[in-house]
Symmetry: none
Subunit: 402 residues, 2 copies
Amino acid sequence: MTDIHKLTRKLQRKNDSKIILYVGDGLGGLPLEPGGKTELETAKTPNLDALAQRGSLGMSIPVLPGIAPGSGPGHLGLFGYDPLQYDIGRGVLEALGIDFELGPDDVAIRGNFCTVDGDGNITDRRAGRIGNDVGAPLCEKLNKITIPGVEVFVQHVKEYRLVIVFRGAGLGGNVNDTDPQRTGVPPLAPKGEDEASEKTAEICAEFLRQAAEVLKDDAPANLLTMRGIAKMPPIPTFEEVYGTKAAAIAVYPMYRGLARLVGMDILDAGQTLDDQMKCLEQNWNEYDFFFVHFKYTDSTGEDGNFDAKVQRTEELDTAIPKMTVLKPDVIIVTGDHSTPAKMKAHSGHPVPTLLASDSCRFDGSKEFGESACRVGELGIFESKYLMLQALAHAGRLEKYGA
Amino acid sequence: MTDIHKLTRKLQRKNDSKIILYVGDGLGGLPLEPGGKTELETAKTPNLDALAQRGSLGMSIPVLPGIAPGSGPGHLGLFGYDPLQYDIGRGVLEALGIDFELGPDDVAIRGNFCTVDGDGNITDRRAGRIGNDVGAPLCEKLNKITIPGVEVFVQHVKEYRLVIVFRGAGLGGNVNDTDPQRTGVPPLAPKGEDEASEKTAEICAEFLRQAAEVLKDDAPANLLTMRGIAKMPPIPTFEEVYGTKAAAIAVYPMYRGLARLVGMDILDAGQTLDDQMKCLEQNWNEYDFFFVHFKYTDSTGEDGNFDAKVQRTEELDTAIPKMTVLKPDVIIVTGDHSTPAKMKAHSGHPVPTLLASDSCRFDGSKEFGESACRVGELGIFESKYLMLQALAHAGRLEKYGA
């Protein structure tokens, strides 16, 4: 596997250029029937279309052809980190998703409240799908558990889901899930795959022992299982690999977390796209690279609501003039994956991508949409190479070799 | 990384076919404004257009998307050698660039004359940019330096630049630059990263000691720094990996050097494109593969002269009938990278590529230009795969597997 960052470390060049990466989550779509238009093609996007006419289009493949990525690998690819090389554990993603600031000594775990009977066998793997009103106070109780030698953090996520983090030197992240994936049997015992992970497994076991005590009268949520026990992988920072000072402007915590993972500063994005644009303008002079995240093209796709996704795509479009007025040297509009309303899910379809800069070889595109992107200058490329294009068009890469 | 040559060694088949690889250096360009045409699209190229109509077009990526290559990696890619795997040191390229015949026991070094003060601190890293009239005789003086156990070669390149080659068994190529990249400090001491390179470092130190003596009265050029200390990487020959007898017809020494690196015979190309065509005709029966290099599409691009690049592209076109009359089985026209006049530099834009043979799947192209290449049959491909296409269309590859 080509190490992109070995190359960018060597070739990076600093200058005063500004790059915006504007991600419409789940941007790519599907027509509802043969000959039809996708959500993006149906939407009225005059600003994106104008940008397409002075830029280059292409299609990005988030992981490999056909593979539908989660938000984690989808964004890592856009940030130029090979999503197959940097495998982010579920526990880490869950912690990032609630804005937990994970450090290098942290082991993050996704917890599920469950119900066990008198023999200790699981009778409900989701504790009767308790609501937030039940789950949140139980997490507060669990958060009081202390274990010598490590710090323990317990935070509620939603309903029966929680995050547990153990912070301590020398803890490994290779421990099995304790969720047996079926009822009628007790939770599995945590076991470490190596010495450092065995240490973590012992801490997990002690935590579960104390949790059983704490929760014994809280049926249906009288125990929990642990899944996706993982550490943050060592990821080089954006600044180190690209030489850019980068900031994230994202309303949803998961995307702030992913940006934090690669060392971006997290700005106060507010709650709306307008807030995000104000934040962008206010911080324009402080950073070289801005990651701006728009969630609703994905959530409407997940809902299977074609028309709502069209409408949200039109909303995405309205922010473009507020970006271009700042005169970025490079502006990229893309998605982390496709979420066709027709499929109500993330999909493996390539993702429409637009890059505009003064060094674009114009490809004659009249509008930004899947059909135009398919034959654009950027071709069909793996998303991990997008950052190379961004840096190149910003004049931030030296020539390779003489 | 896929080892292309493992495959071609296994699949190569000899026959009487002839292949021409015609490289317009820096061929790819950019339109000056949205909707405009590139240099290649502006140029009147009736012969290339006719060839495009009976061939297939595509876009080649020299290294990775966005990466602008130097001539070395650009050509290695076209020759089918992964430019990220075969990293050619600056000293080696500098030696190739003056037609120095480097052997496997040679360490090549780029030297820069510099000025040092009485304390040994550098006051000018380029010795006041002395002219050839000063630099050349100083190199002759340095060429008399002798060091026991190695042969020493010193050759002038241009102005303050020179090449030093140490020839001797067991010398390593991993030695730091002695140029400190700033003034007010002495040159760095050469240090080897391994035992063999430590031996080289000692020879460098001894050479520099003697050079200081030889040059002591030659201010401003009273010392030199060393950069890009490197050996030729072990590169398998064209004949071994492809089974073709190959020849280079290049006017500029750098390109002869790069061809020599992969084991091509170097023919007497003369000075003009007409000379090159005569050379091609005269040697037609002696070789299977001809690399013909045309420099001026690059140099006019580097000058930022759009019109001159257009004119040179038209000149490139005039040679086509002199090649097709010889009835090559495969003729490829491409560049080692793009050099848009708009950017006055090598760029990372994909490179227009044309391949004509009797086994082409015609793609309906009417002319040879970036817009047509973008949607051509060859697609957008890494240039290291071009040789596979050349061999395949020449019937020089067996089927892979049964």
